[in-house]
């Protein structure tokens, strides 16, 4: 295991603590924080996003692209006004579930615990909308980010032409666009 892999594995295990290492220059964190949300809120959504799309050996996770700020900015500026309320409800319900199940805040959970919690939450009746929105914002933000598009997917800004029939080799990623 080389140093880079070591860091990635550590990130995988420790979650939030190492996310800061991966913040790219042109990430959402460069934008002003959306009004009405605290930096703790933003960290919470960073963690939710990074649990949905974690760092793997091929590519950094959603926490590395400032996904929390993306989610809050998009929900505030681009989604119907109900979206921000939906996120607030989701935050509250996930924190409540975390304390009920593990007696700790969501941010203090280990990766498998966070995954378990979100998987349960996804299935929970009535929670669907809030988690669907978090997931949609996470995927949209991550896969349109430079890291997501170029490392988790294959990004061809100038394909040069259209090839209609290509054999797909095992493990090959889809196109970002």
């Amino acid at each position: 295991m080389n140093r880079r892999d070591a860091i990635r594995h550590a990130t995988l295990a420790a979650g939030a603590t190492l996310l800061g290492l991966h913040l790219p220059v042109r990430s959402w964190a460069a934008l002003a924080a959306p009004a009405g949300w605290s930096s703790d809120d933003e960290k919470f959504f960073d963690l939710v996003g990074d649990t949905i799309i974690p760092t793997t050996k091929e590519s950094p996770g959603a926490g590395a692209v400032g996904i929390g700020r993306f989610m809050l900015t998009m929900a505030t500026e681009c989604y119907p006004t109900t979206a921000a309320e939906t996120l607030r409800r989701g935050l509250r319900e996930i924190e409540e579930a975390s304390r009920a199940k593990f007696s700790r805040d969501f941010g203090a959970l280990l990766v498998p615990e966070r995954e378990r919690l979100l998987l349960d939450y996804e299935q929970q009746k009535g929670a669907t909308n809030a988690f669907r929105l978090m997931k949609e914002l996470t995927l949209r933000g991550y896969f349109t980010s430079e890291i997501g598009a170029t490392q988790a997917l294959r990004y061809l800004p100038v394909p040069g032409g259209y090839v209609g029939s290509l054999p797909l080799k095992k493990g090959e990623r889809s196109w970002a666009l």
Partner: protein
Amino acid sequence: MANSPTPGLATDHTYDAIVIGSGISGGWAAKELCEAGLRTLVLERGRDVKHLEDYPTALKHPWELPHRGRLTQDVVSENPIAKKCYAFDEATEHFFVKDKEHPYVQEKPFDWIRGYQVGGKSLIWARQTQRWSRFEFEGAVRDGIADWPIGYDDLAPWYSHVEKFAGISGNYDKLEELPDGEFLPAWEMNDVEKHVAGKIRGAFPGRQPIQGRCAHLTVPRPEHFAQGRNQCQARNLCYRGCPFGAYFSSNSSTLPAAASTGKLTVRPHSVVESVLHDEKTGKAKGVRIVDAQTKQTTEYFARVIFVNAACLNTNLILLNSKSARFPAGLGNDHGLLGRYLAFHNYRGSLYGAVEGFTDSYYSGRRPTQLMMPNFRNRLKQEMDFQRGYMVFFGASRSGWTQGLGANGVGASFKEKITQPGPWGVSMMMQGETVPRYENHVRLSTERKDPWDIPQLVTSVGHTDNDEKMIKDFLAVGEEMLAAAGVKRIGKTDDKRNPGLDIHEMGGVRMGRDPKTSLLNSWNQLHACPNVFVTDGASMASTGVQNPSLTFMALAARAAHHAVGEMKKGNL
């Protein structure tokens, strides 16, 4: 390319020809008139857009757009009409008219999508370029819905003329319903498209899916390089303006060609108020404009005037061109100006899943789909509705969006959704609507626009004929997809309003009989022959093909006729 008015001309305001509008048809008129040696003034109501220079988002990566391409709620709420257009997004919104910038009155709901700038909607069109076939012209005449004074043979050489210059990709398919043209190599089908097309052909003789035809330089020829244009790179970000000049637009193609003659003057910010009629000569003598920025009124004069303001604005200008001789609008002796507005019916669509083909993929983003020409009511009336529809379809594999509806989180979820997902097929109709007297536009008697010109009232709706056609298409689409083994087929009628097709046509229709039409076989107003209309307004019926190539051919043909008539002293 867009020259400012030269001092000498600004003084006398007189040109050989005036072209109102710089979009697809206006660009062609300007090019042909300039190349024939006429000093030509192009009046464009919007701002200048210079090829390459004024495409600010053309090279942006997704992560360089503040909202990754998505419109903000502010833009959405301010643009309840424009936001419905599939091409209106964060990267393209500067090429679309915002709702409040140019108000109009919807007596019946009509989504009027507009692009006010040099190049007009040629910057943001969908670029699909089929010729009309003889069935479009002859069928409409047979059914008594149009009095077309021309047929396919009249237009065929002009299709060739514009195709060679614009650059149209396609296969030589030898179909009478979709005549071949002057083609650059076609785009490829992917494996699933080949499969579906083959199954449809096998199961339904007479239904002929082919690769789509579009105005993209797949393999440019010397005449395209000479325009400064290059090969299409399959980015499919066309609505931002193409940094390669690979799709046809006025900005990349006809306007630079016109400018290179030294005969062209383009005046942006020129809202045409009316065409001026000269009682003594019985001809139009010029146009009156309102400068969009200063609101000042100015007049320009010329021997011939081409009205290419795009369908509805061409109607508006002529309706507002009132004189003692034409109190109801220029050329409008019978009250038919603004009548028989029609459009394309896009309401029906289908989708479904294709199993298998998991080891097959593709690369690049193709700017066209498959097309299947109309097979309904082709040689005679057969259905419980009039006219017909063509079909578009295509297949692709889902990318990361497969994760939106899927349960799961974590590394295995990420692994799954970053690999190509299952294949899906989507299919849509492009139906002919029957021009009807009731479907019309007229001037508002109460409301004016910001330039003190009466607002347009739209009164255009669907008819029972459209409903029956949608029903038939959805049944036909389902049987074809089922025959191709497509699973989980879904059908929708999105009930969209007329206008969102952005194929509005008519109002100044061509016809043999001056009593029932406005324009003759050369697109001249019957009652004022030095005024030509060669945009969508001139169409007597809509056919089933995408219309822009036909507007180009009509414009080039009419411009040559105008030059010939001027030389003979008839104009």
